[in-house]
């Protein structure tokens, strides 16, 4: 901190040095699994069996990545996880957009158009954040069957939207609570209606919380395994399920490099989202907590 005034004595410098040392060690410790995965994924199989976990790759190769993407066996089929990767996108993108949109509208209605019992509705929605996934597996399977969308992408999207609304509503509700009601009153007097006020007045200032909601939902839905494994057929599986199948397929030699490459591929989109928008994520989560 630049605003801390302190005399630079040798003891203070030593303390500072120790502090940084510990922090660097901790950072290395945290990054280690990723480094090992990355190194293993570019080693030929021979190097893996000969060397140690931490030895650097001697002849780096992208072959394991290609194999994981296009040829590796996931259960009975051997066409890699590439198809499932796109499957995941086809599920995640609509689910994130729909749940964020509904969450924004819910949050807007619950804060700016209060009605009798709106607090109760919000409390019940909040309760939805604490329901364990396992509890709803059977009723959800039944519901999807009734709707005729079991084992389809649409079914998975519906499940994720229903589960996501509780969180997105919470995000947007807490964000909109901090926006003065007088803005909405002024717009009402100006002649704007429910959707117009949302679209023209509130949405343009909602960027931070939209980023939070999108990152949160993207990560949650992309990383989901339980719903993916329970409510998908082999051609609608998300990449997490395919990754599990790939790693668990036991034919011949265990190809650690392919496993690692597949895991990296499966994790990549969430990493990218964090790197691109992580700054806004933290900013959005703390928005409103301190008055600007």
């Amino acid at each position: 901190m630049a605003n801390v005034i302190r005399r630079q004595t040798p003891a203070a410098r030593l303390g500072r040095g120790l502090l940084y040392g510990v922090l660097i060690l901790a950072a290395l410790f945290y990054i280690l699994p990723l480094v090992v995965m990355l190194m293993t994924s570019v080693k030929p199989l021979s190097e893996i069996s000969a060397g140690t976990l931490l030895s650097l790759p001697q002849n780096p190769t992208l072959e394991p990545w290609a194999k994981a993407w296009g040829e590796a066996c996931t259960g009975m089929r051997c066409d890699g996880i590439g198809g499932y990767f796109w499957n995941s996108f086809a599920i995640v993108i609509p689910a994130v957009l729909i749940s964020t949109t509904i969450g924004a509208l819910n949050g807007y209605a619950l804060t700016k158009w209060r009605f009798k019992g709106s607090e109760l509705v919000f409390a019940l929605m909040l309760f939805g954040c604490f329901i364990p996934f396992q509890v709803v597996l059977l009723p959800m399977a039944q519901t999807l069957g009734w709707l005729g969308i079991s084992s389809s992408r649409a079914g998975l999207i519906l499940v994720h939207v229903v589960f996501g609304i509780a969180f997105t509503t919470l995000f947007f509700r807490n964000f909109y609570v901090g926006i003065p009601n007088e803005l909405v009153s002024a717009a009402k007097l100006d002649g704007a209606g429910f959707f117009r006020i949302f679209w023209r007045i509130l949405l343009p200032v909602s960027a931070p919380i939209i980023v939070v909601s999108v990152i949160w939902q993207f990560t949650q839905i992309w990383n989901d395994f339980l719903f993916g494994v329970a409510f998908s057929a082999h051609n609608t599986q998300p990449v997490t399920v395919a990754l599990n199948n790939l790693v668990n397929t036991s034919t011949g030699v265990r190809e650690y490099n392919v496993d690692m490459a597949a895991a990296m591929i499966a994790a990549l989109p969430t990493l990218v989202v964090y790197v691109l928008a992580g700054k806004y994520f933290v900013r959005g989560l703390t928005a409103g907590s301190v008055k600007g």
Binding site: S185, R200, P204
Partner: protein, 373 residues
């Protein structure tokens, strides 16, 4: 025809009665100020007029039309909010034209209206800025511009100056008054600042606990308050209230003010102000209301020389304000404030002869706090 009429409006939040049977009527072009301490219901009444809060019972008419159950947009009113409530994502220009856009006014007319209003308020150079880039006073102007652009039947101002610093507040106050004189608009203005109320209003409604205590011109409310609350609320420094006993004085009346450790002070009540209500309270305790300016130095002119009762007292505190001097001095069992000219050379602890202008004094019932005479 009355521009705004409020008939027996009541508002209840659960069992709490926020507005208790409020009725007001103002003519087109009048400037009405709702004034009162916080929690008196003035903002609720404002919101009821705006249509932001439904009333429990009663009716509201704007320009003769019953708008009680119309939406805010259909009432043809505009409001200036305490927090200005400028749309943060829009430029000043968009803020001002938003209401016109919602009312499907053609683009050319919108542009003309924005230019006209910006010119009027001298904010033309700010039109392309966002609200966050404006100072408090500039935001205030934009908020007024947004209301003016629509040319509604009634303007509502909800404590529009309370977020400004003292100097700017006085400037904007003058500007609002000029604007009203120039445009002849009908304005309902909420404030808790009695100076704003006195300086701006054609008509003041003093509110307390959901009731209108007094509705009248600033002069009426200031010089003829109906009760001790109105008397004490209007005016700064506020009116002095002195406990006294009403006595008979050979046909007339006089007030006896008990003074601990000294002789009782006797103030004769002016002959021409004798009212029937006084006879009922003979030899009973009453409250005498004297404004600081009802005191004056002995040699100054009075409204009626005969009624200037001389009082010699020891000054406790001298507070020069520049324009005049405020004196704190004991009167009976109370300490009162007197306002004298800036040339009065008195120091704390000295005795000073002061006249009391009983021609303007007011008497209140000591229990009901209502005015007697």
């Amino acid at each position: 025809m009355a521009a705004l009429e409020i008939h027996n409006v009541r508002k209840e939040f659960g069992s709490e009665r926020v507005l208790k049977d409020v009725s007001i009527s103002i003519d087109s072009g009048e400037f009405l100020i709702l004034v009162g301490p916080s929690g008196c219901g003035k903002s609720t009444l404002m919101n009821a007029i705006a249509g932001l809060e439904p009333v429990t019972s009663g009716n509201i008419y704007i320009d003769g039309e019953d708008v009680t159950w119309r939406t805010p947009a259909d009432r043809d009113i505009a409001m200036v909010f305490q927090s200005y409530a400028l749309y943060p994502s829009m430029t000043v220009r968009q803020n001002i034209s938003f209401g016109l856009e919602m009312r499907k006014v053609p683009k050319a007319e919108r542009t003309a209206a924005v230019e006209r209003v910006a010119d009027l308020l001298q904010i033309t150079h700010l039109l392309e800025r966002k609200p966050a880039q404006l100072s408090g006073g500039q935001r205030q102007r934009v908020a007024m511009g947004r209301a003016l652009a629509r040319e509604p039947k009634v303007y509502l101002f909800d404590e529009p100056l309370s977020n400004l610093d003292a100097k700017l507040r006085v400037d904007m106050r003058t500007e609002i008054k000029k604007l009203h004189q120039r445009l002849g608009t009908t304005i309902v203005y909420v404030t808790h600042d009695q100076v704003e109320a006195m300086t701006l209003a054609d008509c003041i409604a003093v509110m307390r606990d959901g009731n209108i205590l007094q509705l009248g011109t600033p002069d009426e409310v200031y010089n003829n308050p109906v009760d001790m609350f109105v008397a004490g609320f209007m005016g700064s420094p506020s009116m002095n209230f002195i406990r006294a006993t009403l006595e008979d004085n050979s046909g007339g009346y006089q007030l006896r003010i008990a003074t601990p450790g000294e002789e009782d002070l006797i103030l004769p009540w002016p002959q021409e102000r004798v009212a029937a209500a006084l006879a009922e309270r003979l030899n009973q305790p009453v409250i005498l209301g004297l404004r600081p300016e009802h005191f004056s130095e002995e040699d100054e002119r009075l409204t009626s020389q005969a009624e200037g009762t001389l009082l010699s007292t020891k000054v406790a505190v001298v507070e020069p304000t520049g324009a005049d001097i405020l004196l704190r001095l004991p009167l009976g069992e109370h300490e009162v404030t007197a306002r004298v000219g800036p040339k009065c050379a008195v120091a704390a602890g000295e005795r000073l002869a002061l006249r009391i202008d009983m021609g303007r004094a007011i008497l209140f019932d000591s229990e009901s706090e209502q005015r007697i005479a």
